[in-house]
Amino acid sequence: MSEIPTNEDFQILEEGTDCGTRTGNVGKDGCGY
């Protein structure tokens, strides 16, 4: 993992996951799942 630069030109807003795909109960929004 490289050093993460942050300045006014660049900012990480949300750290993602390495798994690459959603898990758990992730169905269509609003379908009730």
């Binding site: 006014e8 660049f10 900012q11 990480i12 959603r22 898990t23 992730v26 929004d29 379908c31």
Partner: protein, 438 residues
């Protein structure tokens, strides 16, 4: 390939739909990076002793998969992970349709009209417990998740009271986690029922209010006398939250031409009751269903993809202004019950479906608990449609997965074809980036 871009004249917000990593980058910096990229040697980049700011940022973007080394096949990686996660998902999720009956007569109800008054009996509940136990002996799962569904599940609450302790015991005996949830219109979810469900690790409560009283009562009224249900449901919501029977209530708000403009009045009401932090909003678009007696309703009131996106974002914007949390992304069904291995909707008589939208339509039954231990319904196991979407280099595949299978059936006549709502999904997800991060 999986990047979504939103922004203004000076900045871009980039979200990778695969990893969910989201960054904000100035357009000037992006231009500088774009110029550098063709000459970058990726291996050399990581060995630099004194990298420039741009080079450091390129390394970060590579680490976060927003930039991808050209030697990596992103599509193949996605497909492999999709199938791997499907295999490794060890949650056994059952949707127990305690009854197909409902006390309401909602104008847009999507459920089929067959056997509207069928209830799960005590004998059938015992058969469900036996079947669940047997399934867990034959399949390695780490959690049993029981969601009550209907019709209106609480019209048969004696079966919920009978079934839950027995299913919890099955999970305890197997030493696996247990949780429960309920999708209800909320009219019968009183203190006693809330207290009972709370004993069984109540994880999700979804209740529907279609706007303030005047809107809700015009759409979701009682069958027997057309009287409204709003006040009773709101009282129950407040009771459930006040007694901490669940941390948050998932409030479903269905919208279409009829009620869209009035929904912010409901936000004000929830705010005045001080529960805005304990509500997860879920806006449901009223879209066509299998042709039935409600067909005219959809034709007259559905907004269509472009307006649905616009109105969805407007609702999110209004909700955010009033202090509600809003979603970070809008999904279209990568991991619904229809695509999981260990999941089924169980109906009275033990019949099984793979998708909750198919309740009330016996032609889609794929088995019965009396003789079925394989929950793979072949209608839903051909994932070739995802390849079709990947071939089009669609950045939305990780949040769409080829689209809702029920809607695919409606639009193509097949559960195995893509259902593309790219315009709407793209508009909504870009809009959510701006609303959440600008």
């Amino acid at each position: 390939m999986f990047n979504l871009f939103a922004g203004d004249a000076d900045y871009l917000i980039i979200r990778n739909t695969f990893t969910t990593t989201t960054v904000r980058i100035s357009k000037n910096l992006k231009e500088e990076i774009d110029k550098l990229l063709p000459s970058i040697n990726y291996k050399y980049l990581y060995n630099l002793k004194d990298p420039t700011t741009q080079e450091k940022i390129i390394r970060t973007l590579l680490d976060k998969n927003i930039l991808i080394d050209s030697s990596i096949d992103e599509k193949q990686k996605y497909k492999e992970l999709f199938l791997k996660h499907r295999q490794e998902d060890k949650v056994f999720a059952i949707y127990v349709t305690t009854t197909t009956n409902c006390q309401l007569d909602c104008s847009y109800c999507f459920e089929g009209t067959e056997k509207k008054n069928k209830n799960i009996t005590k004998t059938e509940a015992d058969e469900i417990v036996f079947w669940v136990s047997k399934y867990l002996q034959q399949n390695i799962c780490n959690k049993l998740r029981v969601i009550f569904y209907g019709g209106e599940p609480l019209l048969n609450m004696k079966i919920i009271r009978y079934l839950l302790p027995k299913l919890k015991k099955v999970a305890d005996d197997k030493k696996i986690f247990f949780e429960t949830g309920i999708l209800t219109n909320g009219e019968l979810l009183n203190y006693e029922m809330g207290k009972f469900l709370n004993k069984y690790n109540l994880d999700k409560v979804q209740i529907t209010l279609d706007g303030p009283k005047k809107c809700h009562d015009a759409r979701r009224y009682r069958k027997k006398d057309k009287s409204g249900t709003f006040e009773k449901i709101l009282t129950n919501i407040l009771c459930i939250l006040e007694n901490n029977f669940v941390e948050k209530i998932n409030l479903r708000i269905n919208f279409d031409k009829q009620n869209i403009d009035f929904i912010p009045e409901l936000f004000d009401l929830l705010l005045s009751n001080g529960i805005e932090k304990r509500i997860s909003l879920s806006f449901g678009m009223i879209t066509p269903t299998i042709p039935s007696n409600t067909k005219n309703y959809f034709e007259e009131n559905t907004l269509g993809q472009i307006l649905n996106a616009e109105k969805y974002l407007w609702l999110c914007s209004e909700a955010k202004k009033k202090g509600f949390s809003i979603p970070k992304e809008f999904m279209a069904g990568p991991w619904c019950t229809a695509r999981k291995i260990h999941s089924a909707v169980i109906l009275p008589k033990g019949d099984m479906l793979k998708c909750i939208s198919l309740v009330g339509r016996s032609e889609f039954f794929f088995g019965n608990i009396k003789d079925c231990n394989n929950l793979e319904d072949k209608k839903f196991t051909n994932f070739e449609y995802i390849n079709t979407c990947l071939e089009k280099n669609c950045p939305l595949v990780p949040i769409c997965g080829g689209g809702c299978r029920f809607e695919a059936y409606l639009s193509t006549g097949s559960f195995s074809k893509p259902h593309c709502q790219k315009r709407m999904l793209s508009d909504i997800n870009k809009g959510l980036l701006i609303l959440n991060y600008k």
